[in-house]
């Protein structure tokens, strides 16, 4: 079995449709949204399109869980015990089990909300962030950036479920959120252990995480502004081992990036 698996070769059945991230970024409608200052806004029941936006986000969570499973699974296989300790790979295997369960939960939540598998296009930039050949950088990409985003997304959906009185959504998101906090905590712990005697490598890993986090903030898509559909979940991030300074950096990068012209995610 080959090591380092390209995103374009990820297995999907005929229900799925792949969209290229570049096509979204270069969508000519973006310039008009920027000119009009048009944003989707925070995901709340007060939005007229709340049901559609929540279903679209739920589908994004579903494909994100598949890609998180694929990313953690690759880490178990791609590195030998010299590059990545067996205990780290055991943690990644445990995470695969969680991601597989989350995928099943997300499919069922999608059905609950009236969504079909493959209803919306899938982009693979989450998986692409988990393809770094250095296990420490991959760990920060997957377990701190991607899983950190998962904390923000699940908390946003949990609060949405709470606000509109959807007991199923609120309950499921709360349980998955607990797993994500554990995944980020594992990433924070392993980053510290693997770079204990190599501060330069730790710095490179944190810089890589910052780059990935900027991508995940999608020009204000995730942030602390009122118009950010995904809200930064400070409390849960602290529980997962993020320092306040790190969270401030994500918030500041997102705020600065949201002022840039270009793609605004329509969710």
């Amino acid at each position: 079995m080959r090591k380092g698996f390209p995103a374009e070769d990820l297995a999907r059945d005929s229900r799925f449709r792949r969209a290229r991230t570049e096509d979204r970024i270069t969508d000519p409608r973006n310039q008009y949204l920027s000119q009009q200052g048009r944003r989707a806004g925070r995901l709340t029941p007060e939005r007229p399109d709340a049901a559609h936006a929540a279903r679209q986000m739920m589908h994004g969570i579903f494909v994100g869980e598949i890609q998180a499973l694929e990313g953690a699974g690759r880490t178990v296989w791609d590195f030998d015990d010299e590059e990545a300790p067996f205990a780290l790979k055991l943690d990644m295997a445990r995470q695969c089990w969680d991601e597989a369960r989350h995928t099943e939960i997300s499919v069922k939540l999608g059905e609950w909300m009236g969504t079909e598998v493959g209803e919306f296009a899938e982009t693979t930039f989450l998986y692409e962030a988990s393809c770094n050949p250095d296990p420490v950088l991959r760990l920060t990409g997957v377990n701190r950036a991607l899983e950190g985003l998962a904390i923000d997304v699940f908390n946003t959906m949990r609060e949405f479920g709470q606000a509109c009185g959807d007991p199923v959504l609120e309950f499921c998101e709360d349980w998955m959120l607990a797993d994500e906090v554990t995944h980020v905590k594992m990433g924070s712990d392993w980053l510290r252990r693997l770079t204990e005697s190599d501060p330069e490598r730790r710095e490179r890993a944190l810089e890589f995480q910052r780059v990935v986090d900027k991508l995940f903030s999608f020009r204000g898509f995730r942030g602390e502004g009122d118009d950010s559909p995904i809200q930064l979940a400070r409390t849960f991030r602290r529980m997962a081992g993020f320092a306040d300074g790190e969270i401030d950096t994500i918030a500041a990068d997102s705020a600065a990036d949201s002022q840039q012209e270009g793609w605004k995610a329509p969710v």
Partner: protein, 179 residues
């Protein structure tokens, strides 16, 4: 039926104005919009969002549609014929209701509450799915209805009445909303 589409040519999305006009005319006839009514479909191709509205003025109807409402959710900037038919069916059933004296006199779209929108949409799409013999998105619409009316058995019963209903009046819809 006279149907016009604005703009006559699209540059940002792969939509065809002539095709949209044909679909709108077919759907209008299917749902019972009177033949002497003029329909203008105004598509905002700049927007990937999906907001829609219908304004009736005399024997003229203006449908304002953000491009996302006709877009294929699997293919960026591509037209979805099934999605467009569903959006037009929902909007034009409302129009047909407004032209029907027996239906009553609902307020303009802009004055409806989100709960009223969800209820009337359910009634329109339930009828459209039966009339056209297509999947009208029962699950999606029920979820949208629950967000506005509650996640309760009572709300689900109200939704079923709307989805399966026919010959309802605006007063009936309001009554069902209060169940």
């Amino acid at each position: 039926m006279n149907v016009t589409v604005e703009p006559p040519a699209f540059t940002l999305v792969d939509f065809d104005a002539g095709r949209i006009a044909t679909l709108a005319a077919e759907v209008a006839v299917l749902v019972g919009v009177p033949g002497d009514v003029t329909v203008e479909v105004d598509v905002d191709e700049h927007s990937p969002f999906g907001k829609t509205s219908a304004v009736v003025s005399g024997r003229s109807v203006r449908l304002a549609v953000e491009g996302g409402a006709f877009e294929d959710p699997q293919r960026i900037r591509q037209f979805s014929e099934a999605g467009a038919r569903l959006a037009l069916g929902r909007l034009l059933y409302r129009v047909a209701d407004r032209f029907d004296p027996a239906f009553g006199h609902p307020p303009p779209d802009t004055d409806l509450t989100m709960a009223e929108h969800a209820a009337w949409d359910a009634y329109c799409l339930g009828r459209y799915s039966r009339r056209a013999g297509v999947d009208g998105g029962f699950g999606r619409r029920r979820y949208a209805f629950r967000i506005r009316h509650g996640f309760t058995d009572r709300a689900d019963q109200a939704f079923d009445q709307l989805w399966n209903g026919s010959n309802l009046t605006w007063a009936d819809i309001q009554r069902i909303c209060r169940l």
